[in-house]
């Protein structure tokens, strides 16, 4: 890594001296278990579908990690899902919707709170009404659960889920010479970032190609394509920021339970993505005017080994 006079390079990739602008959000962690890995995956993928952007989907969610049976509350295979929304009320509503429609419906599953937080939202306490009076409450070690009778036995869901302050919208932009190179680098970055605990990458397999800017010439749209990063427009729009030779830009959006986790994921992603054919790695921001957090790329790389 070379750094000096504002320039920093990893291999031949320039790391732009800029920052990602991130937002204060609220997050919950959901532990999903089932009889087999297959149904854990199915339930977790179903629950985190259509949850890429809080603007369009009301929440952002993804699978955080797999959990071996020895570490789950009921000793079965499991996965943890992180779900982010702008406030605790939003988190609660989305949890009720998504656990109710995507996890409870999935054979053999159960659903537990995975966050020890002071602030909580009622989830199982609302889903229990599906039991139509046949639901049963159980309390063990200070935690309350609901047994909801369903057609394969019972759906077990925890009464309340913890909600904590979180950071959403961290990001890096990978500028490559071709789609193939950029995709290879983004895939490597996603793999490295997923090793970091307490973060998720909410877009499809962690990668987004349709980066957006605020507003549009069409009044009905709150956001529209970010032409400054569209390679096909680099010769047409004066606002382009793409250096010559860039043929593809891919973005990775990072949501984390705290700023430290987002910075660590940023660092891991940049290091994994930097390689021949990646001309620049930069980040998206709004001039620091919208988000509560700034993740400076150079600082993230310098402050951490």
């Amino acid at each position: 890594m070379n750094a000096g006079r504002g320039a920093m390079h990893i291999n031949s990739t320039e790391i732009v001296d800029t920052f990602a602008e991130a937002f204060a959000m609220r997050a919950a962690r959901v532990i999903i278990t089932a009889d087999t890995d297959h149904w854990v995956t199915t339930a977790a993928q179903s629950m985190t579908g259509f949850a890429t952007s809080v603007i369009g989907c009301k929440c952002e969610a993804a699978i955080e990690r797999r959990i071996p049976p020895a570490d789950t509350p009921d000793g079965r295979p499991g996965a943890s899902v992180l779900l982010f929304a702008f406030d605790a009320d939003g988190v609660g509503k989305r949890l009720v919707e998504r656990i109710g429609q995507c996890v409870m419906t999935c054979p053999t599953t159960a659903c537990f709170n995975g966050l020890d937080a002071q602030e909580t939202v009622v989830v199982g306490g609302k889903l229990r009404f599906f039991g139509d009076g046949h639901q049963i409450a159980k309390r063990l070690a200070g935690r309350r659960f609901w047994r909801v009778p369903v057609m394969d036995g019972e759906f077990l869901v925890e009464d309340r889920f913890g909600v904590q302050p979180a950071v959403g919208g961290g990001n890096i932009l990978i500028l490559g010479d071709t789609v193939e190179t950029a995709l290879e680098a983004a895939t490597a970055a996603v793999a490295a970032m997923r090793e970091v605990p307490d973060v998720i990458l909410p877009f499809p397999d962690g990668v987004v190609r349709s980066g957006s800017k605020v507003g549009s010439r069409y009044k009905a749209l709150a956001a529209s394509t970010n032409e400054a990063y569209c390679p096909t427009l680099s010769g047409a729009v004066p606002s382009t920021v793409l250096p010559a030779g860039v043929g593809c830009v891919l973005e990775i959006v990072i949501d984390g339970l705290d700023l430290n986790a987002v910075e660590e994921a940023t660092r891991c992603g940049i290091r994994a993505a930097a390689r021949n054919g990646i001309l620049q790695i930069t980040a998206g921001n709004y001039g620091g005017k919208l988000g509560q957090y700034q993740i400076h790329l150079h600082r993230a790389l310098k402050d951490r080994p």
Partner: protein, 269 residues
Amino acid sequence: MSLKLSLRVTPDVPLETECISTDRLAGLNPRAVAALPVLSGNQNACVGDFFQVTGANDGEIRMEGDLRRVKLIGAGMVAGRMVIDGNVGQHLGIGMAGGEIVVNGDAGDWVGPEMSGGRIIVKGNAGHMVGSAYRGSRIGMRGGEIIVFGNAGNEIGNSMRNGLIAIGGNGGDFTGVNMLAGTVVIIGRSGGRAGAGMKRGSIVVMEESPLLPTFMFSCAYRPVYLRLYLLHLRRLGLPVSDAQITGRYRRWCGDNVFLNRGEVLILDR
């Protein structure tokens, strides 16, 4: 350093020691503890007449000796820990709301009657009426945990409304009689008339046990919630096998002469 009460005079008649619990002895030196009043039969006495008191109360009290005639230890306890090396008498932890009592021995009748929180662990056997309501009372155990490693007598969890009672061995007759809610797990078998009059709640037994004709069979399945309970009990040291954790249980609903919302789960072998 814990406060230690060593029995030096074995009582001839039941000794009622309602004052001995971690929170009631908080801040008292051994001399002050020794001066506390107890009831020996129908005679007034003091702790020091029967116990040698040493150490200081740092939130833990240790008792030792043959305490089979010593009653009401840990009554109304709300915090702290008591460890009893030896057998203990009736009414252990009556009305307890918090903290932990560990008995390295047997316990008499009425372990944790009407308790609402905390945990009682009996490493040996327990008598009748574990976690029960007193006669004439409508509600028994309201919360907390009672773990008995050995066998227990009749009327385990009589009228209990919440909490967990686990018996490592066998239970006597009328387990969960008049139960309102809560969970009773018996690693062995229960005696006759389990769940008689129960409205809600769960009675789980691992060995074939007699059932009243007022319980109706539903199905055999693997209750996920039970895995949580059994894993919890295994962590506390009860001999819970993998087969019991992952096994199928036959669900019997009852008591249908009452609300019919309770269940008896019997491990399907």
